[in-house]
Amino acid sequence: MTITVKGVAKEFGGFRAVDDLDLIIHEGELVALLGPSGSGKTTLLRIIAGLEFPDRGQVLFNGDDATARAVGERAVGFVFQHYALFRHMTVFENVAFGLRVKPRAQRPSRPEITRRVHELLRLVQLEGMAQRYPTQLSGGQRQRVALARALAIEPRVLLLDEPFGALDAQVRKDLRRWLRRLHQEMGLTSVFVTHDQEEALELADRVVVMNKGRIEQIGAPAEIYDRPANPFVYEFLGQVNRVPYRGEGNTARVLGRSFALEGTAGDGIAYVRPEEIEISREPRPDSVPALVRHVTALGPVIRIDLDLEGSDPVEVSLPPARWRDLCVTKGDAVHLRPANVRIFPAA
């Protein structure tokens, strides 16, 4: 199902949650809405679901205007942030709910409902839990019940609001992989909301970065990470060093190295990822001296904090092997050379 969002806007008591927003989600895609809290990502998801109605604009499902359709008529599976399980019902009854409330003509027979529920429970690996109540389950199990319940109505679109927000790190990782597989096997079109950039980059085919009710950038995870469209995306995704520079004619000097300024001349801010700064013992052309303030071993990467003369401290990250070759420790004098910078002239 292709979902088209056209010029959608929504205000809550004067606060613009979603501001004239356009977005196309293609059939079979797994899309992440990524942004800080208050960026409008959950509101956008709820508008797509039909739980919230836009003040302006349209939502199209496969080209048909669905803006006025109620949530129940849109056949979307919605997974709530806190699962919203029916706590007075067993796991079985929760999953069966969507089938049992169908109009008599469309309702499957009793044995058929039982069969389908057990099939779904097998899918979410909760076969033995059918007679338990939600309070008797762990967070990860509740999340999977919520998924099974949403999938029971055989939706073409799956919408998930912060699906892994309340889970611990290991459970979250397993569930992510599992959701990815489920999405592919069932041929769903899925949209999930998250404020966790790692989650968005790992899980999604495309990431929509949102801020203040608007879209800052849309792209594949690698594209978003490697070529952020603006300072907001740069700062929101991953670690980055902000280095103010002074424009000198058509060039800018960033950490000792000159970069060509395209278009606007003048001062601005350069963004350099920690892994894009080369570090060496000996001075090289275009390098600047720095002093190692602190070394942190984070497992797969080593993070080094450095002090520079006449500039803010800088963070560099290295693979452990490279760090062992260099053998730098606290207090050492080293030289830095940025391999790649992105320059955003001051507005």
């Binding site: 679901a49 109620a70 129940g72 979307v76 029916f86 706590r87 109505i153």
Partner: protein, 293 residues
């Protein structure tokens, strides 16, 4: 298959309290509480039954089966049977609207629901006299139609509804507000209609609060004196409820009869409490699973 009564795995571990008061303090507090309960609740209750039976079973039975007493009992039950369902529907509507939707005038509605608690019962009765009495606002229009409200059963029912309507709404509003809208949204997103959502999701989630509200409402509806006294007109055998009947008997120095009817009224209240306790005991596990009370 017994699906609904699986005990919840919510047993708390027994743990030592950090706040351990001295033996003397605990003993003192317990004694004060027990003495207070005895003096102010149990003793008067016993007194009612002792007084009622002082003149023997014969007088007791005669006082209750006397025609005016029977009429009062019938009227009391009738009024409760009308007032409680009306307030049940109203309480559910009001709390649903207040807890689940935002609309202009919401805070005004919440304040208005508390009105009967904050005004004197005499005023709660008087408003109906002012509205429907012979010189009231609407009375002159109804009189030619032969509709009598004040000093008749309809007035008593209206006054009772007015006095008791906050009980159910007050019990449900915080409960529904705490539960939020997510479960309802989930039901609707799964294709449930508004009525299905209410019947299958909202109602089961508040059924205990609703039950307490109904029990409280019922106890008050049977026991209300002030407001009913103003609108009743005290016509024996016609517009006397049990509390009014008790007062009349007492004022006529028929204390044995007064206490006999009083004991019956007290008994009705006690039955309410017993039902509540029984239900709690019977459905304790489910109650724990749905985390409330």
């Amino acid at each position: 298959m017994i699906a609904t009564l699986t005990p919840a795995a919510t047993t708390l571990p027994v743990r030592r309290r950090a706040t351990r008061e001295g033996r003397g303090v605990r003993w003192l507090l317990t004694t004060v509480a027990v003495l207070f309960l005895l003096g102010f609740l149990v003793l008067p209750l016993i007194a009612v039954f002792v007084e009622a039976l002082r003149a023997g079973w014969g007088t007791y039975v005669a006082a209750i089966f006397e025609p005016d007493a029977l009429a009062a009992i019938r009227l009391t039950l009738l009024v409760a049977a009308i007032a409680v369902p009306v307030n049940l529907v109203f309480g559910l509507c009001a709390s649903w609207a207040i807890a689940k939707f935002d609309f202009p005038g919401k805070s005004v509605l919440i304040t208005l629901i508390d009105l009967p608690f904050s005004v004197s019962p005499v005023i709660s009765g008087l408003v109906w006299v002012l509205l429907f009495g012979t010189s009231g606002l609407l009375g002159p229009f109804l009189a030619p139609l032969g509709i009598k409200i004040v000093f008749a059963v309809p007035g008593i029912v209206l006054a009772t509804i007015f006095v008791t309507f906050p009980f159910i709404a007050r019990e449900l509003i915080p409960l529904m507000a705490e539960q939020g809208r997510e479960a309802e949204e989930a039901a609707v997103s799964l294709g449930a209609s508004g009525w299905q959502t209410f019947r299958l999701v909202t109602l089961p989630n508040v059924k205990w609060g609703l039950l307490y509200g109904v029990l409280l409402c019922n106890a008050r509806a049977m026991g209300e004196f002030g407001a009913v006294s103003v609108v009743s007109g005290h016509i024996r055998g016609l517009t006397n409820t049990m509390p009014l009947h008790i007062e009349i008997l007492y004022n006529e120095y028929q204390s044995a009869a007064a206490f006999a009817v009083a004991s019956l009224l007290a008994l009705l209240g006690l039955v309410t409490l017993v039902i509540k306790t029984l239900l709690e005991w019977r459905y304790g596990a489910e109650l724990a699973a749905t985390r409330r009370h």
